[in-house]
């Protein structure tokens, strides 16, 4: 696929109280942003584990966003403080291993920052588009099927079936 038409696949792990509600606000204010990011809601950014990120890359994500409440805003008082320190290490590790820093991005988005949410998604999408698909990781996927075989086959069939019915 040439770079212009290629659409990056982005996963966003978001905290339920701030960023998810911020995304709702972006929706109610009818702000427009690219459709590449799909969100996984967790209760607090403190509960996002680096293994989620690795699994997301393994499943073909080109970019990952982790977003939570601003420091001191956390519904649980300190969840995001622990997250902040954990991500500093994980980010250094990925960079040292050779994964560009833009592949994994972080943000604080409060429930009232709908605009910021839309901007962050747009920025991440643009960054990943310039970086191009995460071929290094995708090369590793091609030789072996997905871990949930039944999902992989079915996904292919539904996409094929979709094409026929349209």
């Amino acid at each position: 696929m040439d770079k212009e038409k290629w659409e990056p696949k982005i996963v966003a792990f978001v905290c339920n109280w701030c960023t998810y509600t911020g995304a709702d606000l972006a929706g109610t204010s009818r702000m427009k942003y690219p459709a590449n990011a799909k969100m996984i809601r967790v209760m607090c950014s403190g509960s996002i584990d680096p293994v989620f990120i690795i699994k997301a890359f393994e499943r073909g994500a080109d970019g990952v966003l982790v977003s939570g409440c601003h420091p001191n805003d956390c519904h649980y008082n300190a969840g995001n403080f622990h997250a902040r320190r954990r991500w500093d290490f994980f980010h250094e590790l990925l960079d040292f291993i050779g994964i560009e820093k833009e592949r994994l991005q972080f943000s604080w988005i409060s429930a009232s920052e709908g605009k910021k949410f839309a901007d962050v998604i747009a920025k991440v999408t643009k960054d990943i588009k310039t970086l191009g698909p995460f071929t290094a990781y995708k090369k590793m996927n091609s030789e072996f099927t997905a871990v949930f075989p039944e999902i992989q086959e079915v996904v292919k069939e539904t996409i094929i079936k979709e094409k026929e019915t349209v």
Binding site: G27, Y76, A78
Partner: protein, 665 residues
């Protein structure tokens, strides 16, 4: 597992950019999906009936609804599922409106994303486990911290609802700042007359345990199951024996030894004292720092005169522990003072007004005491320095408030009203006196408030000057107030006999420390944070703790009383049920796998994780594991990510569910 998928058009909010029929059709052939349908208004009654019928007819075990944000209708669809016999936690929502149709224009991309979002929800629901609400027992007793008008009102309402109340007040008597006021706006009725009956009602109420001259030192536990440790400071007077005759006060030789803080340091008091005549309880307190007995072991005059032998010099502080279900915090406020502050203090003093070195530059509460009949001047307006009746008084609004450079950017709300009242009281008592008020904007938004200020201007001829005062200095007995009149556009200079500053309302001295003791958040000034500024103003974010009065932000008396009744109502709601239902989203440790490193215990913001000993057959402890108290855990999940061996699962967001959502990308 048979799954039902219900795609909502939301009128045309979703269907305008998402091809709902196609999404339903695609999901129908998805493994595990038994039935898939799209409908115009899924959240409407017909829509919900459609879900209920489908569950019964198709024998569905779980449902996925593609609709608006879960924050909107998750509860609606869960209730619909429950009424059809499905566990509410086997319902997943795919947010097709706020996160998809409203934010993308390209129909193809939006529809494709919608399919993926629904697929993620389907994969997640496959791994959802049925959960039921957690029931936690509730202690039927309320702790009210602070005995001002807010605390009194909250205590009375809760007690009248039939619940036991422990009311803790750090001063020797309840009444708070309201008991210091002369008259109250906007009706000018005497503060003591409307407050004292309430104070007596508290004292005589069978359900209220009144602990004055006491402080809360520790709060443990969680909503419905708090444990409060209260320090009852030694009064050195036996409360049962004392009849409140006051002989010891009149006979005490140390007349002029200490300032009476109730009189805002305008008058003195002996070592044994009650703060004001109508004090409740009417039992004096002996101040060790002033009493001769504690200084040199002599005196003991009070012991001689007390016929009931109530004086007890060796009385010690006592600690009381009470089981509490709900806490109402009503600790009130303090006035900002203009003295010179330490370099690192968050407030700045007022060098322009002399840093408090002029005795006749006083604050609002001091003027209240001067105007009050039980005050040091028995109600006559006399200035503190030489007791003369001031011919000219300058009142200054916004001293400290609305002033970033002094560290207080908010408006203290009530000063416009009490300053107008002060001017009126002055004019009623000194007819030929001149009252000037320097103001920026008059904020009189309450009922009868604006009319009250107009009355001050029109009937009592109070001269309002719009402008700030730049400087005050004393010149042979007169106080030169230099300011400006921005309407006339020229500088103004008034030689006043007395200057009254309407200083800012700030939280009590140790409000931040108390907040940490209770475990509630507070803002940069030290006011306690409400759960939601508009929708949950009287609840703190910590479950089971409610806020009333000026401890949350500057409040006048009507608002404090209204908040107090609201907080009392919230507390009674909590206490009305024997057990408390809590969201089942809590974490659980797999004790076989836990290696006992206790990193989870370090990160848990709520201290919900305890060390549990695991014993072998003959009772020897062979390992310690982490145990999560279901009642305290708020379900944030920080421990699940910190646990290296991933042996902690958060119900509703467990490993499999998250994994399934990622895998379905």
């Amino acid at each position: 597992m048979k799954i039902g998928v219900f795609i909502c058009h939301c009128g045309e909010n979703i269907s305008r950019t998402v091809d709902c029929p196609r999404v339903a059709r695609v999901c129908e052939s998805y493994p595990g999906v038994e039935y898939a349908i799209d409908y115009k208004y899924m959240c409407s009654d017909p829509g919900q009936n459609m879900i209920r019928d489908a569950i019964r007819e198709k024998g569905l075990d779980a449902i996925v609804v593609g609709s608006c944000s879960p924050h909107m209708h998750e509860r609606t669809f869960r209730n619909a599922a429950v009424s059809a016999g499905i566990n509410p936690f086997l319902v997943e929502i795919a947010n097709l409106r706020e996160h998809c149709s409203w934010v993308h224009d390209d129909v193809e991309a939006a529809t494709q994303k919608a399919i993926e979002l629904v697929r993620m929800a389907i994969e997640k629901v496959k791994r959802d486990k049925p959960l039921s609400k957690i029931n936690v027992p509730v202690t039927k007793r309320v702790l009210v911290i602070g005995g001002g008008i807010a605390g009194i009102q909250a205590a009375l309402d809760t007690a009248n609802a039939g619940y036991e109340v422990v009311l803790v007040e750090k001063e020797p008597s309840i009444g708070g700042h309201m008991s210091q006021l002369s008259e109250t706006f906007p009706t000018l009725d005497c503060s003591q007359c409307i407050l004292t009956p309430r104070m007596v009602e508290v004292y005589q109420h069978p359900k209220i345990k009144l602990l004055t001259y006491s402080e809360v030192v520790k709060i443990e536990g969680f909503i419905g199951n708090f444990k409060a440790t209260i320090k009852k400071k030694a009064r050195h007077i036996n409360e049962e024996l004392c009849s409140g005759c006051g002989l010891c006060i009149t006979k005490c030789p140390t007349k002029k030894k200490a300032y009476n803080s109730f009189e805002e340091d305008l008058a003195f008091r002996p070592a044994v004292y009650i703060p004001f005549p109508q004090a409740v309880p009417n039992i004096p307190v002996i101040d060790e720092s002033v009493c001769m007995y504690y200084k040199n072991g002599k005196c003991g005059m009070c012991v001689k005169v007390c016929d009931r032998g109530a004086i007890d010099f060796d009385q010690k502080d006592t600690m009381l522990v009470a089981d509490i279900g709900a806490i109402i915090v009503a600790t009130g406020f303090k006035l900002y003072n203009i003295d010179k502050k330490a370099a690192d203090s968050k407030y700045k003093g007022y060098g322009e007004y002399g840093y408090g070195k002029y005795r006749d530059v006083i604050d609002g509460l001091q003027f209240e005491r001067i105007a009050s009949a039980s005050g040091p001047t028995a109600g006559e307006i006399k200035r503190p320095s030489d007791g003369k009746v001031p011919k000219k008084i300058v009142f200054i609004q916004c001293v400290g408030s609305r002033d970033d450079s002094k560290g207080i950017s908010y408006c203290s709300k009530i000063c416009c009203m009490y300053t107008a009242k002060h001017a009126m009281l002055y004019k009623h008592k000194v007819h030929d006196g001149e009252a000037y008020i320097f103001y920026m904007d008059i904020r009189a938004g309450g009922k009868m408030y604006e009319e009250f200020v107009r009355r001050a201007i029109e009937e009592d001829d109070v001269k309002y000057i719009r402008g700030r005062v730049s400087r005050i200095y004393e010149e042979n007995g007169k106080y030169i107030v230099k300011g400006e009149d921005t309407i006339a556009g020229m500088p103004v200079e008034i030689d006043a006999d007395l200057v009254v500053l309407a200083t800012a309302m700030i939280p009590q001295e140790n409000s931040a420390a108390l907040a940490r003791t209770i475990g509630i958040p507070y803002d940069k000034y030290g006011f306690f944070n409400e759960a939601h500024p508009k929708l949950r103003p009287v609840e703190s974010t910590t479950a089971g703790v409610f806020l009333a009065g000026a401890c949350q932000s500057p409040r006048d008396i009507p608002e404090s009383v209204a908040m107090a009744s609201a907080a009392a109502c919230k507390a009674t709601i909590l206490l009305s049920s024997d057990t408390l239902e809590r969201e089942p989203v809590v974490a659980k440790v797999n004790e076989d796998l836990c290696a006992g490193c206790f990193y989870c215990k370090k990160v848990c913001p709520f201290g919900a994780i305890e060390v549990k000993d695991v014993k072998d057959m003959n009772g020897i402890v062979y390992k310690e594991v982490a145990y999560i108290n279901q009642g305290v855990c708020q379900g944030c999940g920080t421990c699940t990510a910190t646990c290296l061996s991933k042996s902690i699962e958060l119900a509703g967001f467990n490993n499999e569910e998250i994994f399934a959502e990622i895998a379905a990308l």
